[in-house]
Subunit: 263 residues, 4 copies
């Protein structure tokens, strides 16, 4: 566990130790009691889009998880604006092999892993705790994670329902309203061509979270899609952006890479 | 459209023309009225697991769609046994590039397509009509299709809720009861190791539909997973199996390939 | 090392212990003296195309190596017919990740291995010894092996020079003459289209060795290409074919799989 | 063909029109006479490592080809220093799908192209002309190009022979002497670990040419390996670097991207 008592001026662990504020929620998803629950309140959750103000001057930043980030950023605007109906929310994350870490294993052996599409966490994913904590409102949220043949990247699809009369244009306005000034969030929704929706293929090495959506007018279901590079926006880049804000620097510093295409 | 008046003894089109029995359902998902609605009743839907008896002697077999097959086979036992609660069902299909057909396009151009994770049909997928028609009961069903870097294969995850007291062991019994004698359905659910759940990587060239599931005991959510090779069980193999049954032959004939590993 | 004294009626090791007949050649490429050099003569080299007659009734068959097989089968006809000039022969093998074995390692970790093009044996590949032993004539032969992103398969290109006046048609005749009746060798050379030359992509799971060639008329250089599935023709399938011959069975038995396309 | 008479101050075409200075060499590899042979002498070949001095102030820069670049940079030091024996030189280039251009075709259709290892130009590759022109000395040079499953990147292996007494340390010195100050050439040769030799996987988006080598002490054969991103060092990045030199700017400007790992 991170040395939360250390003398360092700023600590931004990549690990999950201090992301969750509620010891009970922590215990539910991590399977054991938190060893120093009285310290949980000292940390700011390292998600700039939700906590920019608290991050200013922060010295203890609990860097957000990658899958959690893709779920939270996908759903935050609609939940913040209170337009989501109370149905269960299903979010499915498609992740690359780098999400399993840098150590080799039987599961990561190339002949086994290449070309694989495997559900690896159908229920009980720990990042659910972060999403429950950070997303406004109270609702049942279910996360499922599937391994794909990519190395980097997460594509998350989440399904929510909006009330009668709420249009896709309203959805668009909601995302614009909440994310309009965000330097690393892009709304990707194009009527034609190949790149109509977010695709992590375009994001390797970047700090962007691309978000798209599509509405089923017959049912009010909105499918929200978000794509990130889990090794940047999901982890290291997220930490850098949070640090930049904490220190009063340009939050884009060190995160300028715009990506490669094709790649 | 298939020459449904033809003199051929047996017709098994791969196309979707005669899969749907209800002209209104057809129109809803295909965007136009069916040209010969009076002929729709002449066809048996080519899914051996659901219609083996009707297939015996059948001369007009409407071969099932691939994504529809993965959804139907995943959900059929629980719906047939009436243990699914009335919540919306979300099914997500991860498909390979062969699903888009044999013709090249900008979207299938290798530099664009390789490594891509793209939602290509978030709402309104036509195969929804087949799943609605074939699955027992009445409930809201939502399909979302996502392109993955594989060439062959579909992995579908579907989320349903079962009543209090219904256990994972009961789920297992349900699949055993309904599919116990099926030659091409395998329950894949292992506690340890790499291959705990279905993976289309293991199914290239085979007629198997591998089915797994996992239950969230806290919420009663069951995540059902099904994997097929869309070019076999989803289409051609499905047709061969249906023909074998129609003609009274061994239904496994021509479908013996057991797959490669690793591949 | 294989129990060469064992009581088994037939022994066909997949390992390399008894492939080389000359102890000095063995020592040169394996870096140590052979422990039982007096036993080397007891074994037939398990390559049906070169040793079909010796394999009949054989009880000790040293199964050929995969890269060696692709090199030997590519070059054998031209060398047997004595039409290759005395220049150095360069053969380059592009192999998949399964060639490195079933155990995971840092090098086989998917994030590291996927998409990689790495020379892993530029000089001194052990299979050179098999190729030198089996190919007719005396000439300098150099093998280089490169890891590619595939799981299965080897594509080998080899460069030889033929005398003035020897035409591409003559090359074709040479391969027809030597391999015309071979059940698992196919000459792949088409003027148009995608599949003009051998490609291991088409061979997963099959026992075929596809061979193609192209001649540079200005210089007399012939580029010979061979493709195999290293897990079949290179190893297990090769052993099965050799056993079939040894036992007097149909040599194609158990090797009927014709491959998948696309895959 | 490029408007070579245009009023533009600087012209750096990506096309091959003015790369070759000798009309006969052009005709040999391009299959037709050059339309304006009298203009060929106006152009500087856009390879900074070989022509940095001529590039200063240049207004007509014929940007080098990608495969040619990988061959030229691999072989230049040894040929410049005159230590290569007169044997035929074989160079094999493994290229990604982006090398075939941005237009879709049957050959680039993902189900066909993915996982493919296909020789697409066994003999007569046009870039041979560039390599013959640019490399010092006179010797037979043979290029073979093979398509691999990557999107970007070229890995080239070339085989040359050095005289008795010339050691691998001497090879190392040769590359140091010629490329020691080059900002975009790195010698990659490590005794242990995964990344012992150049691999285009590490170079996506960068302007680096990584070069490695290995010597067969028994025969004096040196296998030289070079890796580039064909869409940067091979084309656009090469042009930018040449322009920077031509204009007297820092030649690294706009080419700072250091690459991603893993990717």
């Amino acid at each position: 566990m991170v040395n939360y008592l250390g003398e360092y001026k700023v600590i931004i662990p990549g690990a999950a130790d201090f992301r969750i504020k509620d010891p009970e929620l922590y215990a539910q998803y991590y399977g054991e009691a938190h060893p120093v629950p009285e310290k949980l309140g000292d940390w700011v959750y390292g998600n700039p889009e939700l906590h920019r103000e608290q991050l200013v001057g922060a010295a203890r930043i609990a860097c957000a998880g990658c899958f959690a980030t893709s779920v939270i950023l996908a759903l935050y605007p609609l939940l913040k604006l209170g337009v989501v109906m109370g149905k269960d929310i299903i979010a499915t994350g498609l992740v690359g092999s780098s999400a399993a870490g840098a150590s080799s294993s039987d599961a990561s052996h190339h002949p086994e892993r290449e070309g694989s599409l495997r559900v690896y966490k159908p229920v009980g994913h720990r990042h659910t705790a972060e999403a429950i904590q950070e997303l406004p409102g109270s609702f049942p949220l279910h996360l499922t994670a599937i391994a794909t043949p990519r190395v980097r990247g997460i594509l998350t699809t989440a399904h929510v329902w909006v009330p009668d009369g709420y249009s896709e244009r309203d959805v668009w306005s909601a995302y614009r309203e909440v994310y309009g000034d965000e330097p690393f969030i892009r709304i990707v929704k194009v009527g034609k061509g190949i790149h109509r929706y977010p695709d992590p293929k375009l994001l390797d090495g970047t700090n962007f979270c691309d978000i798209g959506f599509e509405m089923d007018n017959d049912t009010g279901r909105v499918v929200v899609m978000s794509a990130i590079d889990n090794l940047v926006k999901g982890t290291a880049g997220h930490a850098v952006q949070s640090l930049n804000i904490a220190q009063g620097w340009d939050e884009r510093m060190g995160l300028e890479f715009a990506g490669l295409h094709p790649a």
